[in-house]
């Protein structure tokens, strides 16, 4: 488990740079070196797990404050600014509040399933972090089919949503859970298909290999997949599907307060609700992490001369940028209705993603050159405009007519 320093790239001969870049790996190896050789692999993995369990909930706490302050600024008001400097200690107050609230379980609810649902959610979401490459040589488990593992964990979260809604013995919870599950299943297909294009071009399901394939530069520009026509289209579809998978605005009908009280987590209070909240934000982090790995180049720097900045900084920076875009979208867009959401998934996003798959294959087999850029861009743009027109065809609003009460 000794880290190999920068073996794939010829740039990093400077030991100071590579030490700083690999600082967490070196820290782990140093700590693990105190133990006998038999325990070292397990201890290394355990340290990685502890690091993930500490870092991502910490990021979650920070994100809750930034979301509230960001939404506040978007809405012409300040966010929370009383607890700590600029309100940054607000998550501590929120955490204490949610821990000290009374844990109410409805009398007719199914106690066992009610208890297990938030646990199932948080456990499966945490498992998804195990395959994300957070820096050079910084992936917890390098599996050959890492991407498939990630999607398997995502699929398991749907079941916990259903468990939560059904076990509460509450009409609104059940309705919210059914809607959430229907939405998650529809957009799961889109998520999978948009990442299949990446797998096709890279030729591997292993996430570190996907990042390594994007870590090359022509001049100063990187070879990230988002800078290709099929990559841009795929990233857009992936972003839409990711927003829907994590029940974020504008796809947050299952948890909209004005529609369903709180949807499938109506009957949860105190720490269990905090676990749902944690699970939702962690799912946001892990899906953004996968999106940056697949399309935005993972831990690779945007310009070739910026590679002296450590890789983990780029990874977390890109993830936080994605979170910022999530918050931005939440502050901008109104909620979609359930049928609008489903129509959008099956009638626009899915066909476009399938077309994207075709265009990716075309890209792959046309060989290098400017022709493939032109052809792919024209096909994707034309399809987008055409399908957009088709979708908006029924939306002709005539002039407004007013009828006054006599």
């Amino acid at each position: 488990m000794v880290a190999t320093l920068g073996s794939a790239n010829s740039f990093f001969v400077n030991p100071l740079f590579s030490n700083f870049d690999q600082i967490f790996v070196l820290l782990r190896d140093w700590l693990v070196g105190f133990l006998p050789a038999g325990l070292q692999p397990a201890a290394g993995v355990l340290l990685g797990v502890i690091a993930i369990v500490c870092v991502f909930p910490g990021l979650f706490a920070l994100t809750t404050v930034f979301e509230r302050k960001g939404l506040g600024r978007i809405q012409n008001r300040l966010g929370p600014n009383r607890v700590g400097p600029y309100g940054l200690f607000q998550p501590i107050a929120d955490g204490i509040k949610s821990l000290t609230k009374e844990d109410i379980v409805p009398l007719s609810a199914n106690a066992v399933v009610h208890f297990l649902a938030p646990l199932a959610l948080v456990v499966t979401v945490f498992m998804g972090f195990a395959v994300l490459p957070m820096g050079r040589n910084m992936v917890l488990v390098d599996m050959d089919s890492g991407l498939l593992f990630f999607f398997a964990m995502g699929a398991a979260t749907e079941l916990s949503v259903f468990m939560a809604g059904w076990s509460s013995r509450n009409k609104y919870s059940l309705l919210g859970a059914m809607r959430a599950v229907a939405q998650m299943i529809s957009y799961e297909v889109v998520l999978l298909l948009s990442s299949v294009s990446v797998v096709m071009i890279t030729g591997s399901l292993s996430l570190p290999k996907i990042v390594a394939a994007q870590n090359t530069y022509s001049g100063i520009l990187p070879h990230w997949y988002i800078f290709t026509p099929w990559g841009l289209a795929g990233f857009l579809m992936y972003a839409i599907a990711a927003t829907a998978e994590t029940n974020r605005s504008p796809f947050d009908l299952p948890e909209g307060e004005s529609e369903l009280v709180a949807g499938y987590h109506t009957e949860y209070s105190g720490f269990k609700f905090a676990l749902f909240f944690l699970g939702e934000y962690l799912a946001m982090f892990s899906i953004s992490g996968l999106g940056t790995t697949l399309f935005l180049g993972g831990w690779s720097a945007p310009l070739s001369f910026l590679q002296f900045i450590p890789s983990w900084f780029w990874f977390f920076g890109k993830v936080m940028m994605s979170i910022f875009v999530f918050i931005w979208m939440r502050g901008t867009l109104p909620r979609l209705r359930q049928d609008q959401l489903m129509n959008f998934a099956w009638k626009f996003v899915l066909p476009y993603t399938l077309l994207n798959l075709l265009v990716t294959a075309l890209w792959r087999f046309m060989g290098e050159g400017w022709q493939r850029w032109v052809v792919c861009t024209i096909i994707l743009a034309a399809a987008y405009i055409f399908m957009g027109r088709l979708g908006m065809r029924g939306e002709h609003f005539g002039r407004r007519s007013y009828r006054y009460a006599e």
């Binding site: 600024r73 012409n76 300040l78 931005w328 867009l333 957009g388 027109r389």
Partner: protein
């Protein structure tokens, strides 16, 4: 094209977000209690009793006519008339309230007491930060707590106070003019009384 509405919306919110750091109109929050928006001039919260001059007992305008007590809809005013009289702003002896209690936890700020007072004695204050933790007597204001000077009234409702003052001054001037006229008439009558009866018409007016 599909999606241009979303992009325009996102541009607008981005403008709001970054603009909130630079321009006041994109961040309209007033951080109470460090900063306060000044209340409007005709704001009203709970009543108070006006007194002229420096001594609140001697200068209080209220004559305990009890009209406000009768007109108050939730009946939050309790008045006890005094036994003796004291002179008011024109010098006429009037009763004064020995007790004047308003329970501001009951008062609904309707201002009817102000509207019906014929003596401009009770007016509406603008202070609202009156929270107390004494449930039983903390919000019961007595005569002393309710008395505030005319200068204070000028400071919170300048236009109204100026108008009231000018009216009261007018009344006072009229009363004084009438008193002077009656005094002159009496003096002229006293002076013209020993004169001959046919000269009656000269003295009278």
């Amino acid at each position: 094209m599909l999606g241009d509405g979303i992009l325009k919306g996102m541009a607008e919110t981005a403008r709001n977000f970054f603009g909130s750091y630079v321009s006041k109109e994109r961040l309209t929050t007033v951080e109470y209690p460090e900063h306060r928006i000044p209340t409007a001039e005709n704001a009203r919260v709970f009543p108070f009793l006006v007194y002229d001059g420096a001594d609140w007992e001697a200068g209080m305008r209220c004559v305990a006519c009890q009209i406000c007590e009768k007109e108050c809809p939730p009946k939050c005013i309790y008045i006890e008339k005094s036994a003796d009289k004291k002179p008011d702003y024109v010098g006429k002896p009037q009763f004064y309230p020995a007790r004047f209690d308003i329970d501001i936890s009951v008062c609904m700020s309707c201002q009817i007491c102000v509207e019906v007072c014929p003596f401009e004695a009770i007016k509406m204050d603008t202070q609202f930060e009156l929270a107390t933790d004494d449930r039983f007597g903390g919000l019961l204001e007595d005569r002393e707590k309710l008395a505030r000077s005319n200068e204070y009234y000028h400071s919170i409702h300048p236009t109204e106070a100026a108008e009231v003052d000018s009216r009261l001054a007018e009344e006072k001037a009229k009363v004084e003019a009438k008193a002077k006229a009656t005094a002159e008439a009496a003096a002229a009558k006293a002076a013209a009384a020993p004169a001959v009866p046919p000269a009656k018409t000269e003295g009278g007016k």
